[in-house]
Symmetry: C2
Subunit: 321 residues, 2 copies
């Protein structure tokens, strides 16, 4: 059974408390949610190994992923791989083919003798806007592949259902064991729940009750679909707007097909400088990531404001050039 | 400003994450909430130093407290003292005089050169049933006593206000500093909030909103007083019932004057055996603590059921004798 956490962040940090020792390696893409670094790097003193998330042609960089995993598998008996689709910040979800390759790589590593912890952060699950992307969590495919491969799913019900601040998340384990599968799951559940007990006692009861009740309501599926349609329209509008050639000197667009966010790579100005300029001059709030990248939360943009937003960003780039 | 936590347990564990290193000493009474051991002992690998909470005459054992504090202060530059009034499990709150002595002892240790972290867990604050007990948190008296004494208050608004499961708690710091007091508080707030960010992102927004709204309601003070009166009546009824001499061969009553709980010390039977016997034979659920103690949550007992409960416990003792 899933163990309830105080949101998915808490799921990640409880996973880290139960499973990560100082010096362990955690394999993550070079673009990632900053809090991973806080949780794994700062709190747990783990070493984060990055790989470039995209190929130059805009696909998930399976080759770089495989190299990083194999390299770390040579150096460490135990490796931890965190997969986050839809991805924060890029809004990318792996295709069916890329998903198969990821599963094959991790299973192969486990079969060759490494202990593999494969963790999926499914915070934005369900918000898939394109036919070619995976529509299920990689967790399902990773379960039961090998006794040395433990699949861990971290998900929530609040972001998926378009409510925030209720802080309801889940940790779910999937594994293969020759004997005593039930006893093994029971032990994992008790260890994890014990860790939560020693951290927060338990998660908000009220949040859980509200989510459950809302999901039992007959209007729930329809309302959820309506919200999905709104986000999908916004994502498509972003793509349409950004196909305009006038932006191409200012930035490249990272691939995106899902989730809440998308990113652009600036060609001529510093991302943090531009962020501050946009905020101070135009009252536009974006997130800078590293020197070159800006994250746009299209999920919070009205469809009709999308054109204007990117025109302001372009103006900002020109102001600073 | 207080930092919001996901309940007081989370306040304790965030305090521990920010302030406690492996091997640090945490001074606690011999009777205590079991989760302290999980948080400080198991999670943080701190060493717990106990002192007997009561004298044989039923007062807070200031002498034993002082001995433990001074002994650890000799061995460690930094000591952490956790004070929990009203106390779980005994329901004891220090008297005004005992409170003064505690503050004097801790201030003296700080003035003599030790770094003292004095933490108050005020989970059951306000539920004081006797005139002689402290009616304010020791936190207030510990603030500003010495630059080497950091007072930390962990409290909540849900237990105090008779709601549970909302998971809303607070961490508040109180200190003395020669310069830059505001900057020091700002740094403490940021460090602590950062630790929470890396653990759960943030606490339930809904719980906070509900508590705030309920407190703004004009009926709130009256309703809170009504609930207090009910608990106080139950506490007094427990005292009246237990003054009957028929129980005196079976157990002693630990002092209590506040909170949700009280404890008895069994004279002739094992506490865990009795607990199981009461549960299986009479459907009565109590908590055993160590070999000799049973905790009774009189807060959840109707006044009219109190006599019957203790008669069942006595019957249970006689069954096993």
């Amino acid at each position: 059974l899933p163990v309830v956490t105080c949101g998915i962040t808490h799921g990640i940090s409880m996973f880290a408390d139960v499973w990560i020792d100082p010096g362990d390696v955690v394999i993550l893409p070079d673009m990632m949610w900053g809090n991973y670094n806080m949780i794994f790097g700062l709190r747990k003193a783990a070493r984060i190994r990055s790989y470039p998330i995209f190929t130059s042609s805009g696909a998930f960089n399976v080759t770089a992923f495989e190299e990083a995993v194999k390299d770390e598998a040579r150096k460490n008996k135990k490796i931890t791989v965190l997969l986050n689709f839809p991805h924060n910040p890029t809004g990318y979800t792996a295709t069916h083919q890329e998903g198969d390759q990821i599963v094959t790589i991790l299973t192969g590593i486990a079969k060759s003798g490494n202990h593999v912890l494969a963790v999926t952060d499914d915070s934005y699950f369900g918000l898939f806007y394109e036919p070619e992307t995976l529509k299920e969590s990689l967790f399902a495919r990773l379960c039961g592949q090998d006794p040395r491969l433990l699949a861990v799913k971290l998900d929530g019900c609040t972001k998926e259902n378009f409510v925030w601040g209720l802080r309801v998340g889940f940790i779910t384990y999937g594994l293969q064991a020759k004997n005593d599968l039930a006893a093994t799951y029971d032990a994992l559940e008790k260890k994890t729940a014990g860790c939560i007990r020693g951290n927060i006692s338990n998660a908000s009861h009220l949040g859980q009750s509200i989510v459950l009740k809302s999901m039992q309501n007959e209007n729930f599926p329809g309302e959820k679909q309506d919200k999905f349609n709104i986000l999908k329209k916004r994502a498509n509008k972003v793509k349409a707007v950004l196909s305009d050639a006038k932006y191409q000197d200012a930035w490249d667009v990272y691939p995106f097909n899902s989730g809440y966010f998308m990113c652009i790579r600036l060609k001529s100005v510093n991302a943090e400088k531009l962020r501050l300029h946009l905020l101070e001059t135009y009252g536009v709030g974006l997130i800078s990531i590293g020197d070159d990248n800006l994250r746009v939360a299209f999920s919070c943009l009205e469809e009709n404001d999308i054109q204007e937003l990117f025109d302001i960003v372009l103006q900002g780039v020109q102001d600073l050039s």
